[in-house]
Symmetry: C2
């Protein structure tokens, strides 16, 4: 449910009541600078969505009803539409246009590991594709399974598997079911005095299983780490049996197979339990704003803190464009144009730790040429930290196209990567007659490098899907040519599959195929996602 108590939007993000009205100056800017014109048609109503007839081997459905009960096996119109694709802009554009052509034939809601395992066995036997479904927030086509060669598609919704299974306070670990949404997980852990510390932009609607399957990274990754760093144990169901991985924080007992499942995006198995490292719930949180003269100046400051510390818990840097249009704080979009580059440095923890780290990091930031903007700017960022996707809905409503993509590389390659991707997006979309605004930020830092997260906005072409496909391909080509990774935290899905194969090379793809053939010989697990 959403904050306003209604079901989340089926064709947009979250709570429809929270989609902002674009300020008049922004609308003017969109029209004048980007040539955005009002949309030709409003989004369709759910009743008008075009939905294919469900088509599944009859015996399969009966078997699933016998396994799970009729209540947990659904093929009503709304269930199917709500499990159609994810939340990328192309996904939303298709649904807003009434196209639910990728809808699953059936939605099932298993309640346990054993039920998941039984569903997989049944689907393998009937050759029905299985799309594991957590929060449904994939932005890379991770929920768009290939139907070809199979006899149907089933969405495996993990919503009923939403319990905190165990807390080990001494070891500071917790075992969570995959269908827990992040806010529920935080609430359950909070009752034990812990936090997971994982706050991606999708926080309000994303699931624990999805975090594991996609190697999610949250906004506080500088302090709490990426999700894949938090995972110490995994339980996985596959059509060929179960895996129980992780008996210690670290081990030399062979390859780390947890790291083979993390990032496998439902193509190798279904994660049915995740044991994570948790942290003491912070007693104090404070976020500061800083201004740097240029993106390279800000980057140098971030690198310094990432390499020599002290590490803030949150550390972000917006480029000049993102800072100027106020995208770093969507709530103030267009109303607070500013120059330079905004840095947010946040600290969470015990009061003395927060004070010590904040003092030392502030001295470093000032020493690197940063100008303090105070905690008010930081708090404003914090209030709006999950607002980006709502802004996208408003831009789509206004006739614009808005989407994001992200990558990562080592520090010495950051400048080149930034220019290459910006140039590729700008040139490709300009050539199409829709010159874009391209903004960027650094939101995840490591000792050896960092991520770059791009936001693109432009006028919608006649065929916005083809328009973006070409731009995305150009950006992906630029990313690979710069030696960077095609995705830092969104995942591969179906959308990045070709670039992913180029990134890791044919032998690595063959290795993954060999693993998949062993665990999923019928090829039913999220076909077309990750590997072909």
């Amino acid at each position: 449910m959403t904050r306003s108590g209604t079901a989340p939007s089926w064709s947009g993000w979250g709570d429809p009541a929270l989609v902002p009205t674009l300020p008049e100056p922004v609308v003017t800017l969109l029209g004048q600078a980007l040539g955005v014109t009002p949309p030709r048609a409003a989004p369709v109503a759910m009743a008008d969505v075009s939905l294919p007839e469900p088509d599944l081997p009859g015996g399969c459905r009966d078997e699933l009803v016998a396994l799970l009960g009729a209540e947990q096996v659904r093929d009503d119109r709304e269930s199917r539409i709500r499990h159609t694709r994810g939340k990328s802009t192309p996904d939303l554009v298709r649904l807003r246009g009434g196209d639910a052509g990728d809808a699953p034939d059936l939605v099932v809601l298993p309640g346990s590991h054993d039920e998941v395992a039984a569903v997989l066995r049944s689907c393998a036997q009937h050759r029905v594709a299985v799309v594991p479904f957590g929060g449904g927030t994939s932005v890379v086509g991770g929920l768009t399974a290939r139907r070809a060669g199979l006899r149907g598609v089933l969405a495996l919704d993990l919503a009923r598997m939403n319990r905190l299974l165990a807390v080990d306070a001494e070891s500071r670990t917790a075992t969570l079911q995959p269908g827990l949404l992040a806010p529920q997980a935080e609430e359950l852990l909070g009752a034990h005095g812990f936090t997971l510390g994982h706050f991606p932009q999708s926080f309000e609607y994303a699931s624990i299983g999805g975090f594991a399957a996609t190697r999610s990274a949250g906004q506080a990754s500088a302090g709490y780490g990426r999700f894949d760093e938090m995972v110490v144990g995994l339980t996985v169901a596959t059509p060929q049996g179960s895996l129980e991985l992780g008996r210690a924080p670290a081990s030399a007992a062979g390859p780390d197979l947890r790291q083979l499942i993390l990032g496998s995006e439902g193509a190798l198995g279904v994660v049915t339990a995740v044991t994570v490292r948790v942290a003491a719930a912070p007693e104090r949180r404070i976020y500061d704003g800083w201004r740097f003269g240029s993106f390279p100046d800000g980057m140098a400051a971030l690198r310094r803190l990432a390499q020599d510390g002290p590490r803030p818990t949150v550390l972000r840097l917006s480029d000049e464009t993102e800072t100027a249009v106020g995208l770093a704080r969507p709530g103030r979009l267009g109303s607070a144009p500013s120059d330079g580059c905004l840095v947010i440095a946040g600290y969470e923890g015990a009061p003395t730790d927060v004070t010590a780290r904040r003092d030392a990091a502030s001295a470093e930031l000032a020493g690197c040429g940063g100008e303090p903007l105070g905690a008010e700017v930081g708090q404003a960022w914090q209030r709006q930290r999950y607002a980006g996707p709502y802004l996208r809905d408003a831009l789509l409503d206004a006739g614009a196209f808005a989407e994001t993509l992200e990558t990562a590389t080592f520090w010495s390659g950051m400048g080149e990567l930034y220019e290459a991707v910006r140039t590729a997006l700008t040139e490709e979309l300009t050539a199409q007659g829709t010159p874009p605004l391209v903004a960027c930020h650094v939101s995840h830092v490591y000792a050896t490098g960092a991520s770059l997260y791009f936001t693109v906005a432009c006028a919608q072409a006649c065929d916005p899907l083809a328009q973006w496909q070409r731009a995305k391909t150009a950006a992906g080509d630029a990313i690979l040519a710069a030696g960077a990774t095609i995705t830092h935290h969104h995942g591969v899905g179906a959308d990045h599959r070709e670039h992913y194969a180029r990134e890791v090379g044919p032998l690595a793809v063959d290795v993954l195929r060999a693993v998949k053939d062993r665990l999923d010989p019928a090829g039913i697990l999220n076909p077309g996602v990750l590997v072909g």
Copy 2:
């Protein structure tokens, strides 16, 4: 070469001149408490070692000579003996007894990735097993390939691949060849102002490739991390082609395939280059000794620092036995019996950082009941940090059996694991009529758990290999029953293969076999190591 300028010992550890003379009280203690009697025979001379005739398909040797040059293809007696097995106590016992039955037929020394790849292709064609050989320091049978089903065994010595290929000072990464020994790597990095920060007990003779292949952990892992955490990129040669893995510090582009190669122990491919995160060479190093009343008290203090910081760079805790016999500082063995449990807390870094961390950590250690023993005790540990293996040679010379094994688990299971392994070793060896001394330390800490490292000494039975096999099996069974991992940093090798398979389960083993079948269809890569 060794410090005294001679070749390292072929049947013991390192520089024979550094094997200590056991103090008289220790010899008395061994005799009285453990029933150790002088050995029945001295170790054989190299000339008296029994070595099978080399037996390799003729065409294979010719092909290798054509590829590498005659100089780099060796089957002289000394080369073969020096590449026979590793440095476990059973390995040494066999060689001291003149048994080189596992000697490779041939030793080859490729000079580049392409030469390694060519050797692998040739060996695959001729069905000759390939044992990658770095420092030769495996203590788990990682160099004892199974000959059955193949037409010969070749040791692939990487000693000529000993260059620092690249330093990226901005990203703080360095690319190293696998045959670099750790001291060489430190020296080369030191010239750029960096350290790898990886100091396992085998430091003086172990190689970069070996660290990667076995997921090594060094004595300063609390500060610099484990080796697998340092690796950001890998180049791997396999019979089916090459892998280039790692384009960013972190990525969501599928499973982390670096983590599939790390810990693969030469069974999936040969690591030909490793790109690692490096750290600024520390300007200051200081190590303090602390005394805790009991092992659980010390463990609680370590857990506190591991979970809430500040993290020392080195953090170790010896149990009462290890502390009492002085094993924590082998140079003072028997001469400084003491009570309680010794903790070493070391700090490396910039002077202000060292001072701040030392002050804060010392306050925590004192707050947890620790009694400061001063820096002299810490420096004494530092001087002797690599001395353990020499002590083993002295004990073998005296007729004792001495060996180590290690494991890891989560904090809440540490007490049970400690008791279970200690009891298993003690009961099994006592039942054999050779009651042991079992000492233990914690040398690697994480937020969620830690490692346990056991040292066992007892009288040699008539058949010391069978004696230890039974004790090791009992310890391994106890480790698995306690839910812990069969190895924290030594690796699986041939010795842990059965317990490893039980630890990860049959489906995980099948997954690894599927990967191996894809990369090494002829099954020539270190057969019998890791997977069957």
